[in-house]
């Protein structure tokens, strides 16, 4: 048997998929062929690497895990309200309430201190989680369906608005950077922008100065509805 045919047997051998008869052929060939023995040695090295990789599988880790789980539960809850409500753990609800309070007081304090509108507010991990959940949870609602319909029409007018599932879909489209603040934003139309950052979303605003605390999808949706009615 030629070396190129033996090569195939070598792969099968390493994968443990060799037939008994083929095993003898391979053994006989290896006795006399140094090139194939070298190939076998390389395959063994590769197998060692794959074994190691297999033994230390990627792991979400505790924090990330709970983050993702929360997003999943929020999504399925939204798609099937009622029976899924108990999926959201009580501790999360409690933390969310505490967090909302802290954020509210924080915003109040900043407003008094600076006496000016803060367009971008860096947010904590928990806030980010809440935004993520909210984004995911809205995705199967009729709102998103309507948004998707509007999206296709507005896409033709070169307005960049993301729809669809996945927490990063909309916000990954933030494609412009404000020189003054360094904040990333999405240009919706002249004078109207969706403001945030890639991973740390801030408050939304009409970048031309009109304040809003609406959720990203709500904000975009309201904007689109207004535009649609014009």
């Amino acid at each position: 048997m030629q070396c190129d045919e033996i090569e195939e047997l070598l792969y099968l051998h390493r994968a443990g998929e060799l037939e008994p008869g083929e095993h003898q052929i391979l053994t006989d060939h290896l006795k006399t062929c140094s090139a194939c023995r070298e190939m076998l040695a390389e395959l063994k090295q590769l197998d060692t690497i794959f074994d190691l990789e297999r033994s230390v599988a990627p792991d979400l880790g505790r924090d990330l895990d709970s983050d993702i789980l929360s997003a999943i539960y929020a999504a399925v809850q939204e798609s099937d309200t009622g029976s899924m409500s108990k999926l959201i753990p009580h501790w999360l609800t409690e933390r969310a309430l505490w967090f909302a309070l802290v954020v509210f007081l924080g915003i109040l304090g900043i407003s008094f201190a600076t006496e000016q509108y803060i367009a971008i507010k860096k947010i904590t991990t928990l806030e980010e989680k809440m935004v993520d959940q909210a984004v995911v949870s809205l995705q199967e609602t009729s709102l998103t369906g309507r948004l998707a319909g509007l999206y296709s029409r507005y896409q033709k007018r070169n307005l960049e608005i993301g729809t669809g599932r996945g927490k990063s879909i909309l916000l990954s489209k933030l494609n412009s950077t404000d020189v003054a603040t360094g904040a990333k934003f999405l240009r919706l139309s002249d004078g109207v922008h969706l403001v945030g950052t890639e991973r740390k979303r801030g408050l939304l605003s009409d970048y031309s100065g009109i304040k809003t605390d609406a959720h990203p999808y709500e904000f975009v949706y309201q904007f689109l509805v207004q535009e649609e009615q014009k």
Binding site: V56, A71, L87
Partner: protein
């Protein structure tokens, strides 16, 4: 990582009746397995996380149609691989790099230099494979799934899996030789 476990059928039946606690158990049991598979196909944490969310969302939406005499893990991995395929297609459309250069290592049970080196090598090797070969290689050689089940997951024949596996391993060996030299 141990082979993927099979969850009790009664939990699946409870999920089919929209039992939230049962679904919670199911998600907890499989999240890391789903993430590991998605990460190894996509080699990108953010994309893998998105796949995890979308996978369980789809499970919840369609578990009523799942026949309990089938292997749940096979059905689950079918959803994961289909979502990963979609992701790879989108990347190609956007002409994005197959493997982001700044891709960070995910949290691991063991996190040392040798483990990092291994990950880098495997990532480099797998990144060059065509989509189907990459998925077959990850399922069989990294996730340790039997060829018969790989065929079921990909809705193909065992011979097709073996053939893809052969070409994948051949390409991996050649790439490994290049890296070594």
């Amino acid at each position: 990582m141990a082979s993927i476990p099979e969850i009790d059928n009664h939990i699946i039946r409870q999920c089919q009746t929209r039992d939230a606690d049962a679904f919670r158990s199911l998600v907890m049991a499989y999240t890391n397995y789903v993430y590991a598979l998605a990460y190894r196909i996509l080699w990108n944490e953010q994309d893998a996380e998105d796949v995890v969310q979308e996978t369980f969302f789809r499970v919840w939406k369609s578990i009523k149609r799942f026949e309990v005499d089938r292997k749940f893990s096979t059905w689950l991995y079918t959803i994961v691989t289909n979502l990963c395929r979609d992701n790879l297609r989108k990347r190609k459309r956007k002409n994005e790099n197959e493997v982001p250069r700044d891709c960070q290592r995910p949290a691991r049970e063991v996190n040392d230099d040798l483990s990092n080196l291994t990950l880098d090598i495997v990532k480099q090797l797998a990144a060059g494979l065509p989509d189907t070969q990459r998925i077959v290689f990850v399922l069989r050689d990294l996730q340790d799934i039997p060829i018969r089940d790989v065929a079921l997951i990909l809705s193909t024949t065992e011979n097709a899996v073996k053939s893809n596996l052969y070409y994948a391993r051949k390409a991996l060996r050649e790439k490994y030789k290049q890296i070594n030299s």
